[in-house]
């Protein structure tokens, strides 16, 4: 048992968000995301105007995405503690988290490829940009499965004082529902369901961020326990 290891993996979650924030906000200027209804020339101009910023920013976001791996691993560990040796939800979490991390890693990777030769034909830049952003918001479905698994695991904890509180289990189920509309981003170029809209981007982004920091705090408390 390594309590220090558990603490390190837990706090890497919020640190990952810091990397996302610095990478997207002051460097790449990708918050809010580029408008999906922009013309190819407008998208190309974004990448031509801020080539260095986008390259550096997406590099930081790739580091941030990688740091989700230990954080999600720690969530799997605590779920395994809740469930015991037969732990279907812990494994569901581990596998879905892998898909989520892959998307969050590949999306900035495609962005940096887009910024690698921004002088190419604008239509190609637009294509790359579409690929990047649809990849960025599509983890909706595996994220939903992952978060439902976490919620179910918490709710079946039979301890008198559960390792993670039951209200957080319900909160996870609520967050899980919220991630689903992100998939609608494949249908819309404007409005609240487009990849820069309220329901496809901002709500999952804000709730996901709050949820991750909350589970970090709750896991730190649970890590101190020995049962």
């Amino acid at each position: 048992m390594s309590k220090r290891g558990e603490t390190i993996c837990t706090v890497l979650g919020p640190i990952a968000f810091v990397f996302f924030g610095i990478g997207f906000l002051p460097l790449a200027h990708f918050l809010p995301p580029p408008d999906p209804s922009s013309s190819a020339a407008e998208i190309a101009a974004i990448y031509q105007g801020n080539t260095i910023g986008i390259r550096l920013g997406t590099a930081l976001v790739m580091v941030g995405a990688s740091l989700f791996a230990p954080f999600f691993a720690m969530i799997t560990v605590i779920m395994k503690r809740i469930e015991g040796p037969r732990a279907p939800y812990a494994w569901t979490q581990a596998i879905s988290a892998t898909i989520v991390v892959s998307c969050f890693f590949l999306a900035p990777m495609f962005m940096t490829m887009t910024a690698f030769r921004p002088e190419r034909a604008p239509e190609l830049t637009q294509l790359m940009n579409d690929m990047s952003w649809i990849l960025m918001v599509t983890p909706g479905a595996p994220g939903t499965v992952q978060t439902i698994a976490i919620g179910f695991a918490i709710l079946q904890d039979r301890r008198t004082v559960p390792l993670l509180p039951r209200w957080f289990g319900y909160l996870s189920l609520f967050a899980a529902v919220l991630y689903l509309p992100a998939d609608l981003a494949i249908m819309f170029k404007t409005g609240p369901f487009a990849w820069n809209g309220l329901f496809a981007f901002w709500l999952p982004f804000v709730i996901g961020g709050m949820w991750s920091n909350l589970i970090c705090y709750l896991m730190l408390k649970a890590n101190a326990r020995t049962d």
Binding site: L171, F174, V177, P192, L198
Partner: protein, 227 residues
């Protein structure tokens, strides 16, 4: 008739046992721990269901509230388009669906009451009726979608129908989840003995189903009826 007994307790807390008196005999309802200073009436004023379920319910209501607000905001900008879209909706099917959900909610409320009385067969039958009504809702909704798609109306026809399909689609997902919850409750009635914690589970499930019903009432008014 209810009866409230003060149980002997050592740790400076008073515990009250609430029992309902029926012709068939007393039915144990719940124990309430209370601070010594609180009046007994205050002690048995409690929230139905588990506390956590209300996080899910209020969170979901806030998200749907945001959906309704964005819908109303865009509708105000282009009332003509939204009205002409509304004219193409099938109000009769909407009304039938409203009645189906209201009746199912009534059956679920009765089922919870029967669970409290220990009448498990009746509770199971009533929940079965609610599931059947919920499934009818789903089939009518699918028929309604089919009618629209056959008439060449899809998610991308115009803004009104984007909202129509997205809002009713997200609600339909809730109905399907709710049917799953009701089936889970039916299986739970087969347990050898139902204790107070089980009553809480039934209340929590019922609260979710009422939420599904309540959301539909607002959706029906907003999409089908508001002129």
């Amino acid at each position: 008739m209810v009866q409230l007994d003060l149980l002997p307790d050592a740790q400076g807390k008073r515990t009250y046992r609430l029992t309902e008196l029926h012709k068939t005999g007393p039915v144990y309802m719940a124990d309430y721990a209370s601070e010594a200073t609180r009046a007994p009436e205050e002690a048995f004023r409690r929230l139905p269901g588990e506390e956590g379920i209300w996080i899910l319910v209020f969170g979901d209501m806030v998200v749907f509230g945001l959906l309704f607000l964005t819908f109303s905001f865009y509708r105000a900008e282009n009332v003509g388009l939204y009205r002409s879209g509304q004219d193409l909706l099938n109000e009769q099917l909407g009304l039938v669906n409203t009645l189906l959900l209201l009746t199912s909610s009534w059956a679920v409320a009765l089922a919870v009451r029967n669970v409290r009385l220990g009448l498990r067969t009746q509770a199971s039958t009533l929940l079965g009726i609610a599931v059947a009504l919920g499934c009818s809702f789903v089939m009518i909704k699918i028929a309604e979608y089919h009618e629209k798609i056959a008439a060449g109306i899809t998610l991308l026809t115009n803004d009104f129908f984007s909202y129509y399909f997205v809002i009713t689609g997200i609600h339909l997902t809730h109905v399907l989840v709710g049917i799953g919850v009701l089936i889970f409750l039916i299986l739970r009635t087969r347990r050898a003995a139902l204790v107070v914690d089980d009553v809480r589970v039934f209340e929590s499930g019922a609260i979710f189903w009422h939420l599904v019903d309540l959301l539909w009432l607002v959706i029906f008014a907003l999409l089908y009826l508001t002129r």
